[in-house]
């Protein structure tokens, strides 16, 4: 039986070490000792994962909003057009990995269609353009319920779509990966690509939120306006 550990001495600035953290470390070290992968493998993957967030996706949307020809290319061939912003889905040491797939499609929201993405089978996610998936995206809670009760799930995120708008759920069960291109909000006339990219947040590209002119996800909500 394990011993009971009521308190661990706080380690540096990070506070208590949880048993899960100990488990994670133990599993990783054992795996490396047994040659299942190398420490370098792990380091490289971590380094890549930290470097990728939703910035690539935001850039794609901002460019599409400001450049109709880019938008047309992006909608016609997402995989190829990503290269224009430095994202190569086929390069495992670049911004794709072997478990990502290579057919990328951008789903355009319109006044009559609102897209939202899910992977019911295993939570595939367009990592090269959005970074790591949110924890909630990977839960059966989201994955089972979004396909069945999409409007209820969207409402849990604070998003309510009118009845006449088609809520179109995309279940990425095969080799395609998807990202939503939200509609450009009013009040952004004359904005630069950079300013536009800042309001295209991760959740707007999954489809559980709409871009807001006053929300960039870069600071906590308590610091942003009302």
């Amino acid at each position: 039986m394990s011993q009971t550990h009521d308190h661990h001495a706080p380690i540096q600035e990070s506070g208590e070490i949880s048993e899960f953290e100990i488990l994670e470390t133990a599993v990783r070290e054992l795996a490396i000792e047994k040659g299942l992968f190398s420490a370098e493998d792990h380091r490289r993957f971590s380094e890549w994962a930290e470097s990728v967030g939703p910035a690539g996706g935001s850039r794609l949307v901002a460019k599409a909003w400001t450049d109709p020809e880019f938008k047309a290319r992006l909608l016609a061939d997402g995989t190829e057009t990503c290269k224009e912003v430095g994202i190569d889905w086929r390069d495992p040491t670049g911004s794709g990995t072997p478990s990502d797939y290579t057919y990328f499609y951008v789903l355009e929201n319109t006044p009559t269609v609102h897209n939202v993405i899910v992977c019911t089978l295993c939570s595939c996610y367009p990592r090269p353009v959005l970074g790591m998936s949110p924890d909630w995206y990977r839960t059966p809670n989201y994955r089972r319920r979004l396909v069945r009760w999409p409007r209820e799930v969207l409402a849990e995120f604070g998003l309510h779509m009118p009845p006449e708008v088609e809520v179109r759920v995309h279940d990425s069960n095969q080799k395609s990966r998807f990202m939503v291109m939200p509609m450009r909000p009013e009040g952004t006339e004359g904005w630069t690509e950079e300013q536009l990219a800042a309001i295209v947040t991760r959740d707007t590209m999954i489809g559980v939120a709409l871009p807001q002119v006053d929300w960039t996800a870069s600071e906590p909500p308590s610091k942003v306006g009302a």
């Binding site: 039986m1 394990s2 550990h5 661990h8 001495a9 380690i11 540096q12 070490i17 949880s18 048993e19 899960f20 953290e21 100990i22 488990l23 994670e24 470390t25 133990a26 599993v27 990783r28 070290e29 054992l30 795996a31 047994k34 299942l36 992968f37 493998d41 792990h42 993957f45 971590s46 994962a49 930290e50 990995t97 072997p98 478990s99 295993c122 939570s123 790591m132 949110p134 924890d135 909630w136 839960t139 059966p140 809670n141 989201y142 799930v153 849990e156 995120f157």
Partner: protein, 108 residues
């Protein structure tokens, strides 16, 4: 499917609970969670444990044997379970490695 492993049940601290709503599951992953993701990717990449199989096991075991565990810990617990099932590691060596790690963290 085997039963759960004692060494894994022992990681569940009293008072911890499963997250109960979607927003509770949001928030930046802790460093160890990101590290675990990297481990899972490496295990799949180098062939020891396929991502899809592991994800399916996370769903199945996370909703049954390891139902009481926080969802955030699922990858860690289920990956360990899978490696135990595969016979790549055994409970004794996992337990003693965890003891060594714990000691190392407490020592620093």
């Amino acid at each position: 499917m085997s039963d759960g492993y004692r060494v894994l049940f022992d990681t569940l601290e009293p008072g911890s609970r499963r997250e109960s709503s979607l927003p509770e599951l949001d928030g930046k992953p802790a460093p160890w969670e990101s590290s675990m993701q990297a481990t899972c990717e490496c295990l799949s990449w180098r062939g020891a444990l396929d991502n899809l199989e592991r994800r399916e096991a996370e769903d199945e075991l996370g909703e049954t044997i390891y139902l009481d565990f926080p969802v955030r810990a699922r990858s860690a617990v289920v990956t360990a379970h899978a490696l135990l099932d595969l016979g790549i590691i055994d409970q004794e060596e996992l337990r003693s490695k965890m003891e060594a790690v714990r000691e190392r963290f407490e020592r620093e």
